[in-house]
């Protein structure tokens, strides 16, 4: 079982926002991508954010991960306000506390699978040997040991996303933000990624997943619906429900 999954500790919110706003443009062209979002994500919790395209889901994820700065409001990560941090401090924070999984995978084309996975550890200053050992462990956990020396161009979509997930876990982050992790995948690959995310959730990894795929939403502990930059509905899902929903959604198929 993955190390990150083993570090399950329940306590205060890992992620918290207050009155979060993000505006693009100005004057009559002003777009309120987020308009006063309040969110709390507990340690070990999996939150799925659903909504139509352009409702502000990805923007929310970028703000939570410190990739963008809010126009107003607060973002807290494990009790530390991050929306006012410098770019340098945010980068250091991302190194250790945050893992990202993107819809477009965003793997380095010139690096092999294992080199991609070890990159965050190298950026964090780990020794090349330790980074490689950790990367190989993670690739083993996502079932890609035999594909470790392959370039992304030689991997299928599902394999690339599994490499991206392994990379997100490289520095044992507090929270993993996944942006449409199955958006570019066929149904077979989607199933592989869903299983992986489900294992992460079961292992206690804090996860925030933006998706409009109801099968992913079904694996979460909580489901938040968004429209036009605001939360419109919040649903708590029980473990049993999510498992059953997962089965209903065909995850075991």
């Amino acid at each position: 079982m993955m190390q990150a999954i083993n570090s399950q500790v329940h306590g205060g919110p890992v992620v918290r926002t207050r009155g979060l706003e993000k505006h693009f443009g100005q004057g009559p062209g002003l777009v309120r991508a987020l308009d006063g979002v309040d969110l709390e994500v507990a340690r070990g919790e999996t939150v799925a954010v659903m909504g139509p395209s352009g409702c502000g889901k990805s923007t929310l994820l970028h703000l939570l991960g410190g990739l963008e700065r809010p126009s107003a409001g607060e973002v807290w990560l494990e009790g530390r306000r991050i929306d006012r941090l410098s770019e340098r401090s945010l980068a250091r924070l991302r190194r250790h506390a945050v893992g990202f999984v993107f819809q477009a995978f965003h793997l380095m084309e010139e690096l092999t699978a294992v080199e991609n996975v070890e990159l965050p550890a190298l950026l964090a200053g780990r020794s090349p040997r330790a980074a490689r050992r950790r990367a190989m462990e993670l690739l083993d956990q996502v079932g890609l040991t035999d594909r470790a020396e392959h370039l992304p161009s030689a991997l299928s979509g599902g394999e690339r996303q599994r490499v991206a997930i392994a990379r997100a876990l490289s520095n044992e982050p507090l929270v993993v933000f996944a942006d449409e992790p199955t958006g570019n995948l066929d149904s077979g690959a989607t199933r592989d990624v869903l299983r992986l995310l489900d294992r992460l959730r079961a292992g206690g990894q804090t996860l925030v997943i933006v998706t409009h795929d109801s099968r992913i939403a079904a694996t979460a502990d909580r489901l938040v619906s968004m429209r036009d930059g605001v939360f419109v509905e919040e649903t708590k899902l029980t473990h049993g429900t999510s498992r059953h929903l997962g089965e209903l959604a065909g995850l075991e198929g």
């Binding site: 770019e87 980068a91 250091r92 965003h106 190298l122 990379r167």
Partner: protein, 613 residues
């Protein structure tokens, strides 16, 4: 016809869309074509000023002179006069007495040779007075290039062997090479031989005496005894072309025999005045052409990275591969033609500044016309530079799959396994820098090449400068050497152009790298690299190849100097070489810092999201 119009219209639109890049590209080619024009204009034009001077001063075909012997025996005037009766001599003037003297003015001192001339015009060698008037009692005329070096003007007072004279005129002659190439007519350079009795000590052999004319009566007042005087005779031959044979036939190894110099030898000496400038300019133009090639390669490559979607769009709406290639080639060919025209014009205007034979001759290289062959060579080089640099990108653009081009993923990065393994052991900025450099080996090679060419030029210029420093001052006179000064100016111009073009290249390459690496840089930041680490990595991607280029350029510069100046071997002080090695990466780091910093500060989310757009 319609197709041609379409190509021209698309090319013009693209140039207008990116005027900054078009101007920079234009400047790069103009720098190369200007130096090439200067080099070509110098070729073969150096005889014109001498020919003009010879025609306007009734220049001699042969100059003969006799000097007193070290034993104290007077100069053999009879042997000199005998030459006037030799078959083939049609006219002559002289013999004129010559003495050596020391000129002093405002604390400056210089060796001079003073020729006694009548006020009446001579049949052969009538120095052309360019300012003031010809000699008169108490008034001397100074050879113009020496007057320039000694800062003498008409009306000035100058002391010769302690006696004061007023400068009444400046003149040029074809009977002697302009200062400082003047040869010694009086006994100078006799080494350890004692001076003739009654004569002042011989001139410093390195003194390069200036030339002054005065009346024979004034000459007598300079203190030299008649037995210590030298004499000069100017001969005009029936067949001027036979002058070298005439001089050879009537020369002798004996000290007392007349020494003869044909006008062809004088003309060659004058040509030597600009030979080094010509070499320097032609070599400089070659280096600048190579740098221009690198500039265009980088610019076009950078634009391709940025414009790959536009190519996809053109193809998607029906543009054929040939059309795409034609549009790209048309753009750069148009710029090359404009650059060739500008280079020819600037070179034509600037040539007289660099090739002027100084004050010693009439006319200048600027009077040389730009020949058809000069135009052809300059235009051909400009077009070739543009064609070579655009061929590969044009071909790549035309062959790129439309779908891939639209997806902006037409140029997958290269992978260098060993470099990735090695870089993992380095600090984060170096790791990122090496990986960025390894992604685009061709661009990295251009960076190495650009810096290597520049350092090659700089080292060659430094080697030339070391030699010129020794020649900067004429002998012991303390006067500046106009030839060394002018060559130094030429070298300075070339150096400035080389450094400027290399600096532009460094900024181009960095910006192209920043654009090309924007996605990987954004991803690295998302994974935890700080903006400083990313920008330092982008700079390192330029600095490391620059260091390699500097290391290659040092032996390159020494080889280049030895090739251009085969009679001399390059000597550059080790301290200067170390300074170049250290300064090159520092300058590149400073030049690349701003574009790298800008590149590392672009919003991460915006760049990563753009891929999904």
């Amino acid at each position: 016809m319609g197709r041609l119009v379409l190509i021209c219209r698309l090319a013009a639109r693209d140039l207008r869309r990116r005027p900054g890049e078009a101007v920079l590209l234009l400047l790069a080619i103009v720098a190369a074509t200007t130096t090439l024009t200067l080099g070509l204009l110098l070729h073969g034009v150096t005889s014109h000023p001498y020919d003009t001077t010879r025609a306007q001063t009734a220049g001699p075909d042969v100059v003969a002179n006799v000097t007193p012997l070290p034993s104290g025996q007077p100069a053999d005037l009879a042997a000199l006069r005998a030459l006037t009766r030799v078959h083939g001599v049609s006219k002559y003037s002289g013999p004129y007495p010559f003495v050596q003297a020391v000129a002093r003015r405002d604390g400056h001192e210089a060796a001079v040779q003073v020729e006694g001339r009548d006020s009446a015009p001579a049949a052969v060698d009538r120095p052309k007075v360019t300012e003031g008037s010809w000699v008169r009692g108490g008034g001397i005329v100074v050879e113009r290039s020496f007057a320039d070096a000694f800062d003498l003007h008409t009306g000035d007072l100058v002391t010769l062997n302690g006696r004061s004279f007023r400068v009444v005129g400046l003149a040029v002659t074809a009977a002697m090479s302009p200062y400082p190439a003047t040869f010694c007519l009086t006994p100078c350079g006799l080494g350890t031989l004692p001076p003739p009795k009654g004569a002042p000590p011989p001139l410093d052999p390195e003194a390069h005496p200036g030339l002054i004319w005065m009346t024979p009566a004034d000459l007598g007042s300079l203190g030299s005894q008649p037995s210590a005087m030298s004499y000069i005779l100017n001969l005009k031959l029936a067949d001027p072309a036979a002058a070298p044979a005439f001089a050879n036939d009537h020369s002798s190894a004996s000290f007392s025999a007349p020494s003869l110099e044909a006008w062809q030898g004088l003309s060659r000496d004058d040509a030597n005045l600009v030979r080094n400038e010509q070499r320097a300019l032609l070599t400089g133009s070659l280096l600048l052409s190579l740098l221009a090639l690198a500039s265009i390669g980088v610019l076009v490559g950078g634009r391709m990275a940025d414009q790959i979607r536009r190519v996809g769009l053109l193809k998607a709406v029906g543009g054929t591969p040939r059309l795409i290639a034609a549009v790209l080639l048309a753009e750069y060919m148009a710029l090359a033609l404009i650059a060739a025209a500008l280079g020819l014009a600037i070179g034509w205007v600037a040539a007289p500044l660099l090739t002027s034979p100084g004050a010693g001759l009439i006319g200048s290289a600027g009077s040389a016309r730009i020949t058809t062959s000069t135009v052809e060579v300059v235009v051909a080089v400009a077009l070739a530079v543009a064609a070579v640099a655009t061929f590969v990108p044009a071909l790549r653009a035309s062959r790129t799959s439309t779908v891939l081009a639209l997806a902006d993923s037409a140029r997958p990065p290269r992978r260098m396994h060993w470099l990735i393994v090695v870089s993992a052991r380095l600090p984060v900025p170096l790791m990122l820098g090496l990986r960025v450099a390894a992604r685009r080996p061709r661009r990295t090679a251009l960076c190495v090449l650009s810096v290597a060419i520049t350092v090659t030029g700089i080292i060659a210029v430094l080697a030339a400068h070391v030699q010129l420093s020794a020649q900067q001052v004429v002998g012991s006179s303390g006067l500046s050497n106009p030839r060394a000064d002018r060559l130094n100016q030429v070298l300075l111009v070339i150096t400035v152009m080389l450094i400027a073009l290399a600096a532009v290249n460094a900024v181009f390459i960095t910006w192209a790298t920043v654009l090309d690496a924007r996605h990987s840089s954004a991803l690295e930041r998302a994974l935890g690299a700080t903006p400083h680490e990313v920008s330092a990595g982008l700079s390192a991607a330029q600095v490391l190849p620059a260091l390699a280029g500097a290391i290659l350029g040092i032996p390159g510069g020494i080889l280049l100097f030895n090739a251009v100046s085969p009679t001399r071997s390059a000597h550059v002080p080790p301290g200067w070489i170390v300074a170049v090695l250290v300064a090159t990466p520092v300058v590149i780091a400073l030049l690349t810092a701003i574009p790298a910093r800008l590149g590392a500060r672009r919003p991460v989310a915006e760049i990563l999201q753009a891929e999904l757009a």
